[in-house]
Symmetry: none
DNA sequence: TATGAATGAGTGTTCATTCAT
DNA sequence: AATGAATGAACACTCATTCAT
């Protein structure tokens, strides 16, 4: 469909140039259509950008979901999800740029759109963490706050590794997933078993922790 | 100095509005000087932005370094570094927005600038990981690639948590640091001891991992 | 006929939005046909507008003529004409807007079109004035120039009252006609009888009448 | 001043082309400045148009007021006002087009602006009519409604004659004023003396007055 | 006969950048 | 050392107009 061509061109242009630097002229030309046609199908630059975000957010979550089989154990599910995630972002770097960088840099309407997707992914990871905790018989259930922070850290690490894998030639989705999985699963396991790192007491005054 | 006022205004404006949406008019007004003066000191919008990035990247690395005492053990050094990092980003959200979001979203020249800083931080973390490995007598030294990936993941998680801590009221630098430290140090420790999570064999054909 | 629907829609749209602000899209939609069909029947926006002007000018002059019975005396003919005029413009405000405002505001081709109609109406009024003069035995026939000016003034007053009556709720066609008739017929009568207002001598120099 | 040049160019362009057909490019070029400068001084096309209307409305009312000496009798005041009016509109046809045609054809904001001026002029004329009535010892004071209608008609006639005088070569301001004065003053005088034209009784049904 | 789909040309508006002083 | 005044180049968006069917 004509609309898909336009969205393709838009994702590519937005992903490479950024939202503001991308011109509708360039997008139209890249799509091989006239500018008014772009406006006919997608009403404005804002709407076009939103449509890109939505399409790519959908595609990404769908890809991750498709990679995970619910009947497998939690660790395997996390592994498969990561693998799917890195594979997808690696194959669609412009889309990943739109979601990870551009959408978050240009105001609430767009940031909110991508935040919805992220929330979904964080929830997915949180679920895995909870299941893992249960499987590990972590007697005192992890406090909710901590779980949220962990999921956030995990997702953040994944996002960062995606960019890194894209930028570093020779790093495959499998390697990225393995790195993160090794790091995270062990950490989680230890946490479940109650092995925590104890921070030093808060510095009483003046010095101690860095001044600011 | 006059130039610092301008950079202050620029960081604030770039951080809040984004690189392209920030207008030189607004920056000059906020700095309380005339526009031509801005051009006199900093030659163009690009140069001004670059100067912002450099100044704030310096400030951030300096803050982190200042927080770390080289005579303490590796875990404590990591903790202090994280604490300093979260404290600084929390106190200078506009600067963090410039470094973490804006600079990476607007083309190579700027992305490269911030990449340099990031490289430095990753190297610092890598150093800690290596020391930690040695302290743990991790017999077969971790392969370089893996160490790089780990540091990358750690830094990425930290960056993500910084944004999360900024956006979530009631989360202090200490809490963010604790969350990450707990998660990471255990994971690293396990890794050193050779406890790795073994990925399933690569899917031979057709199905298995998602094709995307 | 299909064409009439289009003209109806066009008159309404042109009358309310103005020539330039009216879009062919809106006209076509209001007429319930597709845009290319409008172009098939009426060749261009200009031609469409011209057709509107012509149709409405015809309708107006026809309405005025239909209101006047040639066998009645001049004053009664003027009265009936005015009544018909105010009634028609009151019932077709969009058409009146097209003729009185839009057509005169958008360049020669259109202004000329409506000027033709106006000439006809002025001629009609002029005829009445001449007859009235003859009936009043105005000994020295009124000079042609003067008659033309009088007719022009009368028609102008009528046009202005039409807009006023349209805009002022509660003013009927009859009232508008009465106001003008009272004013005009007495003035004409006096004129016929040679009662003129004598202007002061032209100011010889410098001051007197305003220089502007 | 630079701003006056721009307004001159704008009045000329708006007056000749109409509000919508006038392009900011053309206005800027005619004023001999760059387009951004026009936007610097006058903020938008709307504001520019409003500024034109205001300036020309002021100029016109000032010209009329300057032409009238309050110590002279009412008829002479009316004459002088008309003379000034026709002289001014004759000398500034584009300005007159802006006020009389363009401003009224493009929506409330502009129409309201010029309506204020018109109200002032109508009030001036109304005042003269009332004074004239008193001087003529018109025993039963004219009803307010009637006075309003008369003033409206007079002003309308004047406006119409202004356009006519502009369009008809060889007609001077003096001639236009004389025509209207002759016509109006006699009519008013008659009216004062109670000589009214009696309309025929309203048609009872069906036919009679035009069907409209 | 009638239209869905498409566009060339142009609009108002903004902004980084530069002289003249 | 500092600025008021000015602009070239671009951008998002619209609309009268026309094919292919």
């Amino acid at each position: 469909m004509r609309e898909q061509q336009m969205l393709d061109a838009a994702v590519r242009t937005f992903g490479r140039r950024g939202y503001m630097a991308a011109s509708m002229d360039e997008i139209a030309e890249l799509a091989g259509v006239s500018k008014p046609l772009v406006y006919l199908y997608l009403n404005s630059k804002e709407d076009l950008f939103t449509a890109c975000i939505r399409r790519e957010a959908d595609a990404l979550t769908r890809a991750v979901r498709a990679g995970v089989r619910p009947d497998l154990p939690a660790d395997r599910r996390l592994w498969d999800g990561l693998l799917a995630f890195f594979a997808h972002t690696g194959e669609h770097p412009d889309a990943w740029s739109v979601l990870h960088l551009q959408a978050r840099t240009h105001g609430e309407p767009f940031a909110a759109e991508v935040a919805a997707m992220r929330t979904e992914i964080v929830a997915f990871v949180t679920g895995l963490v909870v299941v893992a905790a249960r499987e590990a018989h972590s007697d005192p259930d992890l406090p909710e706050d901590e779980v949220a922070g962990l999921a956030e850290a995990l997702v953040g690490a994944a996002e960062s590794l995606a960019a890194w894998a894209n930028a570093t030639p020779g790093v495959t989705a499998r390697q990225a997933a393995a790195t993160l999985m090794n790091f995270a699963w062990a950490g989680l396991g230890d946490l479940m078993r109650g092995n925590r790192w104890t921070p030093p007491p808060e510095a009483p005054q003046g010095r101690g922790e860095p001044r600011a």
